[in-house]
Symmetry: C2
Subunit: 249 residues, 2 copies
């Protein structure tokens, strides 16, 4: 691989998204077009909580590797976005996600226990935390670049879900509204960092592979959910419809 | 959970296998009954190499946590079985597995690169290494107890594959013949260790959960293979038929 200009590297990163980002996954098409049963949406929200849960771990692991106070000040905001401000705005992305699982009738403690989550989803999430802890800082930051592609999927998701499902409303989907502001800000910063710091063929290849890793990590979660809950292949010990529901008040 | 006698604990461990071990997975039934295409068998062997590859890592991580020379002497044999003796018998389980992928026409360097392996399979294997590194020694040893259930699946596999597929013979399946001797010896030792050392409700529960973890880790690998290669949902960037074949001599 020859060395790429920053613009060429940015274009190569975007091509990975165009080929591998999970907006292309059949389960997302199904979800957004109203073909999912409420139990399929529950399975998705319950499993996707595993991913929401590890985002602050992942960002803290990245933060712990940054030997530059300015970089840390910027990156820290991601943890604030997920965990909420101390004191005045105690919600944050993680609790907004739980508002969705609440809205779907799932018991919050059951969701948070991860007991019903599919092993493949848990392993993928753990792999992401390990990746950013063990690879170079450049690769850790490059793996966050799926944010470049998320505004489109989020817009499709919110409008599609509101239109097709009477069991969701804007209040339970509020997680996504916040991400529409946060993701482009984060992605722009990370793209600038990666195209500035990856200036050898080796580091450019590593950055591209980091984004491929991340796309695979997202995609395989949907494969697992689709295989078990759409195609009807029960997973021993995992959530099944009827389990883990909140008591009706 | 009340405390179980050693026999009750052994029975509870065996029940987990009877409910969750991957001999119950539809892909294994398909494989053993001759319904797989050669490309499905290739996909399985190529992906399963990820698991073969990490077995010595896993056993070395367990060994590194044993503060008892006698225990280490016993456990060390597992690494010898997989890596081969130095000098006089340079084969070992890992290379016997590669004899199978060779026999299926796959390029050995491609298989060993893991390039074409499914992310879900790689993440599951990494999760196993992390599990035995991070949990208690008791849990690490308990997670090896799937060996209790493997002789049956291996017998079914070897006889089924020899009967149904003209592209395998006894020579490429020699990995399994060796495991038929090794697995019962290993499982007996581990079962004795676990039933002797798990003498509180908490440690007994941990041992049972460790075996559930291991069963899930094996099952989700077959789910991923089945979803992509049997049900025809291509995974971006992963092996597909035609890729990674050895040059014909």
């Amino acid at each position: 691989m020859n060395i790429l200009s920053p613009d060429e590297l940015a274009a190569a990163l975007r091509r990975i998204g165009a080929e591998r980002y999970h907006n292309l996954h059949p389960f997302h098409k199904r979800l957004h077009s109203g073909q999912c049963s409420i139990d399929e949406v529950r399975a998705w929200a319950l499993n996707r909580y595993c991913y929401q849960r590890i985002i602050p771990f992942k960002d803290a692991a990245v933060l712990a590797r940054m030997d530059d106070v300015e970089l840390r000040r910027v990156w820290r905001q991601r943890i604030v976005d997920h965990d909420g401000e101390i004191g005045d705005a105690p919600e944050g992305g993680l609790r907004r996600w739980l508002a969705l699982t609440d809205g779907l009738g799932l018991d919050r403690a059951y969701v948070m226990s991860l007991e019903g989550a599919l092993p493949a989803v848990r392993f993928a999430c753990d792999a992401y935390v390990n990746f950013v802890s063990q690879k170079t800082l450049l690769e850790a930051i490059a793996s966050s670049l799926t944010e470049l592609f998320s505004p489109q999927i989020i817009s499709e998701r919110v409008s599609g879900m509101l239109q097709h499902y009477d069991f969701v409303d804007e209040s339970v989907l509020r997680y996504f509204g916040h991400r529409l502001d946060q993701a482009p800000r984060d992605a722009e910063f990370a793209l600038d960092y990666v195209t500035t710091h990856a200036r050898t063929p080796e580091t450019q290849r590593a950055a591209l592979q980091a984004l491929e890793f991340k796309c695979g990590m997202l995609w395989c979660q949907l494969d697992a959910i689709e295989h078990v809950y759409v195609n009807g292949n029960p997973f021993p010990g995992a959530w099944r419809p009827g389990l883990g529901m909140a008591a009706r008040s």
